[in-house]
Amino acid sequence: MPKSVDNALTDARVILNDAIGERYTDADLVSDFNSAISMTKMLRPDAFKLGEVLPEISVADLEQVPETDFPLPEVFYQSFVYYLAGNAELRDDEFAVDNRAMTLLAAYRRNLTGDLR
């Protein structure tokens, strides 16, 4: 089944241990999602059409029927989940969480540009 933007936010919240969305609002995560798109354009321009305006997601695109499609090839889906979770964790100030944020953001980057093994 094709992945959706809603799926990405839900999966990120599992990592964040915030399944009901108390600490991280939809607006926060959607904003991170848009950052992930522009960051991915920088790292993997081959995933985008030449001259295409970058897709931009808004909170209104969530909980639609059918759900809003994940806007990039699905091989990037898990990387986006890592990016959302990592970026969200950056906002907390406890040291242990900072470490997790770095691990998640590194996983995002490695999945896009690094050695998969």
Binding site: L43, R44, D46, K49, L50, P73, V75, N111, L116
Partner: protein, 226 residues
Amino acid sequence: MPQSGFEDGFTVTTSGSLDTWVKEIHAKVPGAIEEYIYDQLKLVISDFFQRTKSWRTFLGPLTAAANDGTICLNPVDAYSNVIQVLEVTRNTSPLSQLDMKSLPRLFATENDNQNPSRFYLDPYHTIKFFPVPTVDTEDVYVTVALTPRLRADNRIPEWVVEQCYEAIKAGTLQRLHEEPDKTYSNVAKAEYWGKKYRSELARSRSVAAQGYGETAQPWGFPRWNM
């Protein structure tokens, strides 16, 4: 995502699919975007035929209209394009090709406008007779090199898949591996596939130049003891 620089779909009845390559190539470059592999494949196919001229055929009889003297070869048919004119023949004699730089000089001296004996190319697939004939120039035959038309439906003539599979696979893998900062970036592999591609280019060029007959005699060390 697919780039839009390719023509819209058109399917010939006996055609092969680029999918034949994509499955194997994808297995060798995990992390590559499928549509991007298709784009790279098409670029390699185009490059391969440009550099080898390994798809040759002759066309004719063609006619150039009086007072025009031009034969435009493209579009030659639904699934191929002319990339180079190799020879132009009329009344069983090959015509000689002019250097465009010499045209201004020749305009003053040529006066046989019934039987043009020379031609120039403007651009690579448009034949212009010189001097411009005042009557129709008939029975013109041309030998040309072709390239497959690359279309959005990813279909090409089947023989290309059968005859050029390894060469085009090698060229595509070279291009993909040499890209920087990808999960599949690998300079050593790019060099390996690049060598294979170049070797296939030389082989295909040689086979075509010999009319698809026996391949060229392979080079070997001279034997002194025979």
